[in-house]
């Protein structure tokens, strides 16, 4: 069975503490509920959630939607935003988890990556080193979401195929972002097959495509 691996990289640095993180969590929860109603997703979607602050945590390794349960996501009081380290971990996880086609096995669909941050990478050097490595993985698409006023979207453009911004870090903003993520994932499920770039559905008005 071919899986569609989706990686979600979430910023959990101190600035996300409180309402923003709670909103992200309820956004993910709503997204999962919606995806469970999609037969494509139910059969093929596999999701991994990696959080990054001072530490990078794989809060959920690649898990099929059918057996997936919402993990605990926590936030320290303060600390840096180690996106570079998160990308490093991502590369390791993809190498471990995503199956490539061999004579014996059918490969997974091309993986999809979503990155959400409300700041800019603190480990700039490592981040710059990791960007080309992440690009080499061959994600079907990489979407970066710069949430809130402090997020630096120009830092994200070398990494992502699509950079979107979210003006407000409240629950309705994140909810519409994750709703859009899930419709993108659903689109990915049906439009895979061409080597051309994945076409994303039109984002809701709260999300501004840079």
């Amino acid at each position: 069975m071919r899986r569609l691996p989706v990686y979600l990289l979430l910023d959990t640095s101190g600035s996300m503490k409180g309402e923003p993180l709670e909103s992200v969590k309820s956004g993910i929860q709503a997204m999962l509920g919606g995806l469970r109603q999609d037969p494509h997703a139910l059969e093929s979607l596999h999701l991994s959630i990696i959080t990054f602050d001072r530490l990078v945590k794989v809060v959920m390794p690649l898990t099929g939607l059918e057996s997936l349960q919402m993990p605990q996501i926590t936030c320290p009081d303060s600390g840096p935003t180690n996106l570079g380290a998160a990308l490093e971990e991502l590369c390791r996880r993809v190498a471990q988890e995503v199956r490539l086609s061999t004579g014996e096995n059918k490969g997974d669909w091309r993986p999809i990556l979503f990155v959400m941050t409300d700041g800019s990478p603190s480990d700039v050097q490592l981040y710059r080193e990791m960007v080309p490595q992440v690009r080499r993985i061959g994600f079907a698409t990489i979407v970066a979401c710069a949430a809130g006023p402090k997020a630096k979207k120009e830092d994200l453009s070398p990494l992502a195929d699509h950079v979107v911004t979210l003006e407000t870090m409240d629950s309705s903003g994140f909810l519409s972002f994750f709703r859009w993520v899930s419709s993108s994932v659903a689109a990915g499920n049906v439009s895979m097959g061409a080597t051309t770039e994945l076409k994303l559905p039109e984002p809701p008005p709260e999300i501004i495509v840079v």
Binding site: R3, P39, L42, P76, K106, G107, G138, M192
Partner: protein, 672 residues
């Protein structure tokens, strides 16, 4: 004490942070009292989660106010704040970790007077290194145990009883110390400590108490615990410490606590209609509380039963289910409840099959084509049938089938020309791309093969080779097939480019794969078969005896699923001769039961790897399945519909269009 029924408190208890500000605060007594209380809490099999110091009320004796406590199984106003409201922890380990974190934070506040140092500072450093002189008042053994909690070093976690033991002796020695009416004025802003969550709990605070101006003058500031409650002093007291029963006051309009009333346990997800079996004893097992039996308190999700602590059955309805169970303790302790309640949470996924919709495609769409077709050749000596069906992924959204097929027989020369094509799912007009490819390739090849000259030339040169294998074909055969297939593909691509230009679209909007097979009977000698392919899907021969492989084509695949090449990509036909030769194969086989062409909608679910695609036994398996479906057919037309029906087989994750074209000399051999 812990199991005292709730009674309104009339004494002057104060919140823990406020209590600690008092010079004479008996920190050790408070710590001991809290530890005892937590111990009894755990003894009920409950986790407390985050502890909010502002909600812990301390009596003048330095003990936790009984109002904070509750009989087993009930939940009072205070207790509800212990639950962090962050939802149900995932595992007992996480629950333990959260409880320990809470305990560490609380003890840190009591011993040091401030919240625990950040993890980064704590790491590897002993607790006592953060302390001030106050630490000297604490027994060394207690501080050592605190280190274990806060540092999480390899000594593991201490038991509550150890912590209590370390404090007990000291506290007992000091119990004689009487409280004096303090003249120490508490900080002038103490009011804000009284009830930190005022704003979130509208209506429950006595207006008079809040509005009292007395606190500003500072004279009432002493911790006059022993004095009777006077009107003016009510502001000292949190509402929980007044006559008003707090539990009743906070019940309405506060939905969060209800969720946490009973400890929740999430079970592994289930799916509608799929057999579920969960051993609840094993799922609910904790080291501290071995359970002897689990019985449901009320209804279970439809379709499930619970016998001998095992939940089993086939869930009937999707959703997030919550239901309560009663867990009997295997070894009930005297004075403690003999059973505990647990709330089980179960996510039941819908059956994906029930979610697929089947929306007819819109006939007004450009390049519309029928969702399902079954066709056959009427007059050819060998049976040729084909079926093409729209995949569930298209049916779900009402879009058109992208696959196509074409087949022909040339009476003059007895050649069969069979073609299938699969339009790329991500290309807007790929359904037209695949149609043009099939029509154009077949038209071109049928035109060429009408000529006796081409046939003779091909037969002469192939017959000249010993084994009849393409690899050993003469240069003449090679160049003939090269030009036949190459020109056919090129003409198809040109036709698609013209169609794209007409539609003001790009050629890539018409991306399609292509598999085309030529077959010619050789009488006694068997059959001549030649194939050409671009992209995925496959063509194969069945019942050919030794010498030739079943698989005629070499599917183009990338490292990920779904990555392939298309006829419509410029690089495919403009690369070297060798790369085009590599797409051709030709064989003379002594016998032939069937020739099958399939798009990837059929090959992916039926052959799960390239190894299996090359395995003649797997092709035989497909042929047998198809044959079984054909037994009830009495004509070629019925046979084609039988194949169409066969292609509806369900395979999770495989919902692409499916197309199959079949040539069989033995079935319905004469024109029916």
């Amino acid at each position: 004490m812990t199991n005292q029924p709730f009674s309104p408190v009339k004494r002057k208890s104060v919140p823990l942070p406020l209590y600690l500000l008092h010079e004479k605060a008996d920190r050790k007594a408070v710590a001991l009292s809290l530890l005892k209380w937590l111990d009894s809490f755990h003894a009920q099999g409950r986790a407390h989660g985050r502890l909010s110091p502002e909600r812990l009320f301390i009596t003048p004796e330095g003990e936790l106010d009984p109002a904070c406590e509750s009989p087993a199984g009930e939940l009072n106003s205070l207790e509800r704040y212990f639950f962090s409201g962050e939802g149900c922890p995932q595992s007992p380990q996480e629950e333990v970790a959260r409880d320990v974190d809470a305990l560490g934070a609380l003890l840190c506040l009591i011993t040091l007077g401030f919240a625990p140092p950040p993890v980064s500072l704590r790491k590897g450093r002993r607790f006592s290194e953060f302390g001030f002189s106050v630490l000297g008042q604490w027994p060394a053994s207690f501080l050592d145990l605190m280190d274990q909690i806060l540092l999480r070093d390899d000594r593991g976690l201490p038991k509550l009883s150890d912590l209590m033991g370390a404090l007990a002796r000291e506290v007992e020695a000091e119990t004689e110390t009487a409280w004096e009416t303090g003249s120490d004025a508490p900080p002038p802003d103490h009011e804000t400590c009284d009830h930190p969550d005022d704003s979130s709990l509208p209506g429950e605070v006595d207006d008079a108490a809040v509005g009292e101006p007395h606190a500003e003058d500072g004279e009432h500031g002493g911790l006059a615990f022993d004095e009777p409650v006077e009107e003016g002093e009510e502001a000292w007291l949190a509402p929980a410490a007044t006559d008003e029963p707090p539990a009743a006051a906070r019940d309405p309009g506060d939905p969060a606590p209800r969720l946490s009333k009973v400890m929740m346990k999430r079970l592994p997800n289930a799916t509608v209609g799929r057999e579920l079996e969960v051993d609840l004893l094993a799922s609910l097992h904790t080291v501290d509380f071995p359970f002897g039996g689990v019985t449901p308190c009320d209804g279970l999700p439809p379709g499930l039963t619970c016998e001998q602590s095992v939940l089993r059955g086939r869930p009937e309805t999707a959703g997030e289910w919550e239901f309560d169970v009663e867990c009997e303790l295997a070894e009930p302790q005297p004075g403690h409840p003999s059973s505990l309640h647990r709330r089980l949470v179960l996510t039941v996924n819908p059956d994906p099959r029930s979610l697929w919709r089947n929306i007819d495609s819109d006939r007004n769409l450009p390049y519309w084509k029928e969702d399902r077709v079954a066709v056959c050749l009427d007059v050819s000596p060998a049976m040729v049938i084909g079926a093409s069906s729209r995949g569930r992924s298209h049916a779900h959204v009402g879009s058109c089938r992208d696959d196509d097929m074409a087949m022909g027989w040339i009476p003059e020369t007895d050649w069969y020309v069979l073609t299938v094509a699969d339009g790329a799912g991500s290309a807007t007009y790929s359904r037209e791309g695949s149609r043009i490819a099939c029509q154009q390739v077949n038209a071109y090849l049928e035109q060429c093969l009408k000529s006796e000259g081409v046939t003779e030339c091909l037969l002469a040169s192939l017959a000249a080779s010993e084994s009849g294998a393409w690899g050993e074909a003469t240069p003449q055969t090679r160049s003939l097939l090269y030009s036949l297939f190459g020109e056919a593909a090129l003409s198809a691509r040109k036709a698609i480019e013209r169609a794209a230009a007409l539609a003001s679209a790009q050629t890539r909007d018409f991306h399609t794969t292509l598999i085309t097979v030529l077959a010619h009977p050789l009488g006694e000698k068997g059959w001549l078969v030649a194939a050409f392919s671009i992209g995925d899907g496959a063509a194969g021969m069945i019942g050919i005896g030794e010498g030739a492989p079943s698989l005629l084509t070499k599917p183009d695949a990338g490292e990920y699923a779904g990555q392939t090449v298309f006829l419509t990509m410029p690089e495919v036909l403009s690369t070297s001769y060798e790369s085009i030769y590599a797409r051709i194969s030709a064989w003379v086989v002594s016998r032939l039961d069937a020739l099958i062409l399939m798009t990837d909608g059929v090959t992916d679910p039926r052959f799960d790897s390239e190894t299996r695609l090359a395995d003649p036994a797997c092709w035989q398996g497909v042929w047998e399945d198809v044959q079984a479906e054909l037994t009830s057919a009495s004509s070629r037309e019925e046979a084609s519909h039988a194949v169409l029906k066969w292609m509806d087989f369900h395979s999770p994750g495989h919902h692409d269009d499916r197309t199959l074209v079949l040539l069989s000399p033995s079935l319905f051999p004469t024109h029916s």
